[in-house]
Every structure is written in structure tokens, then in C-alpha cells.
């Protein structure tokens, strides 16, 4: 446990301490010691103003990709997962097989074929090239499916039907509330993976104005390499801290919804 804590916390401490140093102190002092000056606020200001304030633009892009991409992925996974769990129709088993296969394929391996596909559609170098692929979350769908099978009792749905509610109304008034813990879990997964998505936007986008934070910060970091190198490690580090903060906030905010099985055991079988 202690080893794990050290393993988990030392890099974080390094990141936080380093964010308070100037570029010169960063290269001149040991990793876990503070520099002479406390430059955190200067660094934050510099991060937001460097390159004509492009960091703010990257932050906005990331938010756009997360809200539309992860939000859309969660909505689609919820609707589809519930449908697969609660309705019997032909081809359900085939969907299951395809889904399991899809979960097994890493997104990185699909990036290049996806690029060629999107290039045919002339969608590369647009936000759509990042958003559309992230709308599909096989793992989220699978999670909702299994969760809905347990958390939404058939008896409850049938009771609602007997009371005269339509399928759409049942979904929005009865099912959705029962699914909230599952949805929050899927949303967190989708938010984290979209927020951290690197390879897909790297391949799809060539215009820095559309970069998310991950690709943008890496481009700043890459300035330290090769001929004409101009390292700006202090801005990369401060930018990384600023990138982590919203994720931490999202976790703290969403975890109170994370109570499991609202209706588990509410119905006698």
C-alpha cells in the first residue's frame, strides 16, 4: 500500500512542484525541490498567452470534444444498452458477438483505417473527425446492457405498461432514473477517454487550431527536439496541471451519483 501510494503520488507531487518553477529553475534544481522563485502564477499566465493564447483554444476544443463526443457516446450507449437488455428481437445474439469483438479491438489500431475512411468523406482536419469516432463506445454499451439487465426489473417495466405508459415514456420516467449509477460510470469512462484521447486527433487533425489539449501540449513539448529546439517545459508542465484539474473536478462532482443499484432488491422475484 505504501509502495503504491509513493508510486501514485510522487509523480503528482513532481508535477505540482515543477509547475511552480521557471524554465531555468526547472533545469537547474532537483526534481522534487522548489526553485528560488514561486513562478506558478507567472507560468499560468504565460501558458494562456503563449502562441497567441492557443492554449485556451485547445481547452475549448477539448471541452467541445468531451461534451459532444463523450456526452453523445453516453446517450447512445444508454439507449442501445437498455434496448438490448430489455427487448427480445432477432439478431440480438449477433449484436452481442459484434460488441464483444469491438470491445477487444483497441481504438489505436483503428485510427489509420478510420483516417482513410474520413478522408474519403472529406471530414479530416475538422472537429467531426474526432467527435464521430468517439460517439461509439462498445464498452459503455456493454456496461449499460449488463447493468440494465440487473438494475431495471422486468416487473417494473411491465407494471408501467399495465398502467398505460408508452415505451418512450417508460424509458424516460422509470428506466433512466434506475440507470443513473450505470450512466455516470459510462459517462466517466467516456469523459476520461475523450479527454485523454491522443492518437486519433493526432492523426486526424493537421490544423493546430483544432487540436485538443493532449496533442497541443505534446506539440509544445516537441519543441525541445532537434534543430532550432526551443524547450518550453515549464509551460508544458503548467499546461499539464491545468489539464488534469478539470478531470479531478469531474470525478469529485460525479462520484456522489455513484451509488450502485438504486432499485436492486426492490422487487420480490
Amino acid at each position: 500500500m505504501a509502495v503504491y501510494l509513493v508510486y501514485a503520488l510522487v509523480p503528482l507531487a513532481w508535477l505540482l512542484i515543477s509547475a511552480t518553477k521557471t524554465q531555468r529553475a526547472l533545469l537547474g534544481t532537483p526534481g522534487l525541490a522548489f526553485g528560488d522563485t514561486f513562478a506558478l502564477f507567472d507560468n499560468i499566465a504565460a501558458t494562456f498567452t503563449h502562441d497567441g493564447g492557443i492554449f485556451l483554444r485547445w481547452l475549448g476544443n477539448t471541452l467541445l470534444y468531451v461534451v459532444v463526443g463523450a456526452g453523445g457516446a453516453t446517450a447512445l450507449a444508454t439507449a442501445a444498452g437498455y434496448g438490448l437488455a430489455k427487448y427480445r428481437f432477432r439478431g440480438r445474439r449477433a449484436v452481442f458477438a459484434v460488441l464483444l469483438g469491438a470491445v477487444a479491438v483497441p481504438g489505436t489500431a483503428l485510427a489509420v483505417p478510420t483516417f482513410l475512411l474520413f478522408s474519403e468523406l472529406e471530414l479530416t482536419n475538422t472537429p467531426w473527425a474526432v467527435i464521430i469516432p468517439s460517439l461509439v463506445s462498445p464498452f459503455g454499451l456493454y456496461l449499460i446492457w449488463t447493468y440494465a439487465a440487473e438494475a431495471v426489473p422486468d416487473e417494473l417495466v411491465e407494471a408501467a405498461r399495465i398502467d398505460g405508459a408508452g415505451e418512450v415514456r417508460i424509458f424516460f420516467t422509470v428506466t433512466l432514473r434506475l440507470l443513473v449509477p450505470g450512466i455516470v460510470t459510462v459517462a466517466l469512462f467516456a469523459v476520461v477517454s475523450t479527454w485523454n484521447n491522443y492518437f486519433l486527433p493526432l492523426i486526424m487533425l493537421s490544423e493546430p487550431d483544432w487540436y485538443p489539449l493532449t496533442v497541443g501540449l505534446n506539440q509544445w513539448s516537441a519543441r525541445a527536439f532537434g534543430v532550432g529546439a526551443q524547450p518550453i517545459y515549464h509551460l508544458v508542465i503548467t499546461g499539464s496541471v491545468l489539464t488534469v484539474v478539470p478531470l479531478v473536478a469531474a470525478f469529485l462532482l460525479l462520484q456522489r451519483f455513484w451509488q450502485s443499484g438504486l432499485a436492486a432488491g426492490s422487487v420480490k422475484r
Binding site: 478522408s119 492518437f199 492523426i203 516537441a222 532537434g226 524547450p231
Partner: protein, 447 residues
Amino acid sequence: MSPTRRTRQVATALAVALLTALPACSAGSDGTSPGGATGTQEAVDAALREGGEITYWTWTPSAKAQVEAFEREFPNVRVNLVNAGTGNDHYAKLQNAVKAGSGAPDVAQVEYQALPQFALTGALVDLGRYGFRAFEDDYTPSTWHSVQVGGGLFGLPQDSGPMALFYNKEVFDRYGIAVPRTWAEYVDAARRLHAADPTRYITADTGDAGFTTSMIWQAGGRPFTTDGKSVKIDLRDEGTRRWTSTWNQLVEEELVAPITGWTDAWYRALGNGTIATLPTGAWMPGVLKASVPDGAGKWAVAPLPTYDGTPVTAENGGSAQAVLEQSGKQALAAAFVRWLDNGNGVKPFLDSGGFPATTADLGSSAFRDLAEPYFGGQRVNQVLTAAADQVAEGWSYLPYQLYANSIHADTVGKSYAGGAALDPGLVAWQQALVDYGNQQGFTVTTG
């Protein structure tokens, strides 16, 4: 930061592996007309008068100033400057766009080591078509050689990197060690320095593909030869073994610092004297001045050590600008490249600390005799321009050098990590390159 860099490297290696695999089917199909077409520059001049908009991908820091100067001189041309990524990211995107058939820029920066790969897949315009062969005498022989592939001219050289020995004079003086002139003296200096102070090393090296190829180049090795679709790889040739017999001593005795280049730790070590020398390209002064302020007044430059006292060096790094076949405005793009590397674009490049490939600039006394305060007033360009004249001839990169570099760490890198002789690592590298080349449709033989 390090975990992201690790994943980035893995991702990039993967991308390069995937991407270099894709275009192989079209390799050598066209664009390599032997002898090279030779046209005139009239079309280029006409396109420049007409004007229009082009896109230019580069990560060169001087590009912004260059594009602004170009647009002032030619107000009817608009250049859309895009930094699509550095190094491998840039090439991955470029290769993607080439494969997809759309999305490539009109002009792109391409390093000499990557040029054959793009030229042989038909991605680049043969500038001989516009009469650019007339510029041959304007460039050093080694850079001019680097932009020619299979008889075609696929770019104009921008910068060059003839190698020299950058050394920390303060450290050498403190321990009373003379600046080495031969590699034997260099190894001796390494031993004495590390014995005097175990925290100091003669240099840092964890296995860098660009350094490996440059050092083999200087030692007289010519491991890669290409003729159309046939490739010969011999990483056991005499020159290669001459280099390993020197460098093995440093690696096996753990006399090189295990610090990877271009990391924050590396910059730190350059500033505080942990790393005493850097055998590297002539573009290094700009990097030191911009990024290692703590080293001011300590560093100096000497000719690269040799094996037998005869002055000889190699190129390390450097890039050209090329016009993409996909461009709808090839003549205008060629005009921009001509201005950039053979016209008024050279000056902003020099002002930003770049090291030129043009003989006129290398020969100008203003450039040669510039006293550099960072180097304690030393006229470093006298050493560096002399090196530009001493680059060994006849070097070629592989037509899939980017892939080769991406797997260097998995083969030769292992020798470094284990403190073992480099030769088995080089043999493993060769085997992987032979297998890959054959899979890509080349006929690869070994020496």
C-alpha cells in the same frame, strides 16, 4: 511528463510502422525518372506573378518570420503556415495524406533522412522540371547530394549539420584534460574525466539512430545502398566496425551518461557540466544559446575527432523543403521553395540561429568571423564552416529510414541499456531492416 512521452514514442513508432507499410505498393512507380527532367524557371516566375494561396507545413522556428517577409515581397501570394507536428508526427500526417490522396500541404519541410522515403513513393515533385538543377553550385556537395534520389531533385536544402565537437571548456580545464583530436584520445579523455569525478561523463548517449548513422558515415561506413527497388544493407562493413570499436569501449565501460537526448534531464546536464562534450551538428550553437543559458561562457567548439588525423566529418540532421505532387499549385509552391532556400528566405533563417547549406553564406566573412559571446568570444563558425567542406561523400539513407530509426531503440538500444558491445545490436537492427524491406516489396540483400 515522462509517461506521456513514453506512450507518444510507442504510438509514433506504431504509426510509422503502419504508415510506411501502406505506400509500398506504389514505391518507385514514378517520380524517379532517371536522369531527371530539366525544365526552365519560367513557369515558376509566371506563377509568382499570378499569385494565389499555398499551405506550408514546417516546425522550423524561423518559419513565421520567413513567411511574413515573403508575403511582404509578394503581396499577391498568401502562405498558410501550419505547424502540423515535429519530426515523426509531421511525417505520419504527411504519409497519411499522401496515402489518402488528399490533405497534403503544397510545401513541406522534409529532413534529409526522410526525403528518400517520400521521393521514392512518388509523393514529391521533381524540381528539375522547373530548372532548379541550375542551383547545384549554390549548395555544399553533401546537402545537394541529400536532396537527390534516383536521379531526381526532390527539394532544396535549407540547413545543414556538418558535425563538430562541442565541449565544455571549463570542465576540460578543471581536470587538465586536452581537447581530443582523435577518437583514441577521446576515449582516453572519457576515462580520465570519469575517474577524476564519477558524476561527469564525456558525453551522453542512450542510442540515437541519427547519431549512429552519422558516426558510421564519418568512420567511412556505407551500410545502405539503394538502386531502385533493390537495397543492400551491411552493418558489418569496415567503417561501421571502425566506429563500434571506438564507441564499444565507452558503452562497455559505462563512460557515457545514460541520459536521453532532448529531455529536460539532458538540457540540465548540458548546463551543469555533467556532460562534457557533444559530437553533433553545426546547428547546435542555436540550441545551446536558446535553451542552455547556464552554459554561457563555458562551451567551445573544436573539429570532430577523427580516426587517423585526416580531417573528415559527417552530416547530422538538416532539412530541405519539398513540393508535394498532390499540390494543385506546384509552380507557385516551387517559387516559394526557391525564395525560401535560394533567395531572401535564407536571411531570416540565419537570423534565427540556423546553420545554412548555401555556399555563399558559409563563405561570407560576416558569418565566418562572427565572435559568439556565448562561446566566450570564439569564432565558432570558422570551425563549423570548415567542417562543412570536410563532409565525407557517398552516404545514402535507407528508403525506409524513418521506420529504421523507429526500431533502433529495440535493437541497438538494447546494447546501450546492457552496457554491451554494439555489434550484436547492429546485427539485430540489420536483420529487422532486411525483413521489413522484403515485406515492403524491396529486394534486400546483405553484405
